[in-house]
Symmetry: C2
Subunit: 377 residues, 2 copies
Amino acid sequence: MTQSVGIVTPQKIAFETPIALSSGVTLPRYDLMVETYGELNAARSNAILICHALSGHHHVAGRHSQDDKAPGWWDTMIGPGKPIDTDRFFVIGVNNLGGCHGSTGPSTIDPATGEPFGSTFPLVLVRDWVETQARLADHFGIRQLAAVVGGSLGGMQALRWTITHPERVRHALVIASAPKLTAQNIAFNDVARQAILTDPDFHGGDYYRHGVVPRRGLRLARMLGHITYLSDDGMGEKFGRLLRSGEYKYGYEVEFEIESYLRYQGDKFSDYFDANTYLLMTKALDYFDPGRHYDGDLVPALREAQARFLVVSFTTDWRFSPARSREIVKALLDAGRDVSYAEIESVHGHDAFLMEDAPYHNIMRAYMNRIDAEVNA
Amino acid sequence: MTQSVGIVTPQKIAFETPIALSSGVTLPRYDLMVETYGELNAARSNAILICHALSGHHHVAGRHSQDDKAPGWWDTMIGPGKPIDTDRFFVIGVNNLGGCHGSTGPSTIDPATGEPFGSTFPLVLVRDWVETQARLADHFGIRQLAAVVGGSLGGMQALRWTITHPERVRHALVIASAPKLTAQNIAFNDVARQAILTDPDFHGGDYYRHGVVPRRGLRLARMLGHITYLSDDGMGEKFGRLLRSGEYKYGYEVEFEIESYLRYQGDKFSDYFDANTYLLMTKALDYFDPGRHYDGDLVPALREAQARFLVVSFTTDWRFSPARSREIVKALLDAGRDVSYAEIESVHGHDAFLMEDAPYHNIMRAYMNRIDAEVNA
């Protein structure tokens, strides 16, 4: 039995100071949905911010009620005695601005109109999220985070934190991430977006007022996403060419188990996730490019950083392959930064960052112990 | 200036003998659209059958008129003095049964109803195509083909020929192909199919009578297909993160050049290709598994073969990687067959099999010279 943080309660925190976003739009106010686990120490030096990926949120660990079916999305990593140990750290989970889990986003009612923002909600960049998260740290009276931790798009936020607020991050844990998307990464995102944008139920992003959701598009986007989260080998081990009924049916119903799995994932996702948030998150991924203002060179950008880094990648991850993590490591070294790097053997592709695995968790635990020794001394 | 076969004219050949398909359905008759280049020799021993891939057809080389904008899809490979030399071989291009370029398929008028077949057109397997192609060889009075040649799904047809009609194939050239699809391959196909099947304009496959086509679905399917035809590196070299307008626009219009390319490819394809044919072709891919009746073992299946083989793969092809071609080679060797294998360095991914490249063409040319020496002696 692994320990859990137990029953947790999210809180909605209101930010009434306007925020000027990278897109040029200013939001007069916004809410962030947040969960915290563990206790902030007297020096306020033991806070760990967890940044979520494309479809994540603030509910990172524990359960919302006794009969909650599943725990938070990173419950294997975070809890008492776990690699990110809530007996020693104050852990903050936040749903990013633009999300669909309680933070202000496209599906939120715009007080100016009394209708959901929909198509009028601005695009939000990784640097904007970092700004809202910095204000969240202010809210808790935290001057410096012990660590910012994230996988995938979450890792990009950790990286951006170290550049934008160098003095406010002691450590950055950048997992299964990349310094910027490749053309292929953008291409996958664009197919997913086009599936949503061309769904007749999208209505230019204002589907709320039509009482529909672009379910078909969102379902396709998620099915495609899932292919890129799993490895070819992992899918082969789990599904191979297994047939649903044991024989060919010669039709378009589910024939292979992999089809059943993907369609189920797509259906489930389209029941609860907001399409505008999905679009916005994929654009944040596309735009992320911290070296952009230095002719595409990450090194000068990272010279700003003061944090120390742990970079982790997984061998069969082809969405953000180990080569992409090594680009980050190389840039950090060239910028004179302190970086540890681990490449974990795994068959689980990109999804490996979410899964329980002894070598991976041992590395995370060892690194967190080092942070503990610094901040809880 | 490379030589061309010049102006070519397709012919529609009627087959009035019923064909019992693998799905259990019998078609009473069908037409095949065909082009031929070069001359059949007196011994009728110099015929080369070209099998097409997912979106291919009978128009393999030459042009249909002086002002035809583009030549046939494999014009770089086939023509006078080219690797498949029409001065020495009689080359046959055929649009497969179920196609949408003149052969009987879902968009053909069903004489029984006076309406397009649509949803009533049966699924067709690779082995069914081979049967129709064998009848096509009969039509030309050809007992044995000098070679069956194909890339991707075309390579699967070449492989199937050697098993089903061992005595009728002298050589099989299996290029950028695979012995069967992986779960990931099937997954990509299923996302493409779901895009078409859930398009409101699909109408269960009978969109013809509604005067619409499921353009959105077909466009998404093609966009996704294109990602898998190109390599990550190739896309990076060609498009990278190049912006259409030089700066971020913060919207869902084309931002990166790769988006423009994919959307253009999708739009173009959805203008001319039939959605039911696309569905049917992807299912033929999924079902192909010549080792299936031998507990998934390709070796006993290939023991039937008498042909000699050339297997070719391309280093950056991740749709059907070199490892998949090596599976074929290994099975052929274990079955005691004669096989040559070439792994070509290329940045062009799966698409490399369609492109002009000296090392690739030199290998094809050398192998074809060997066939020439045998059949035109």
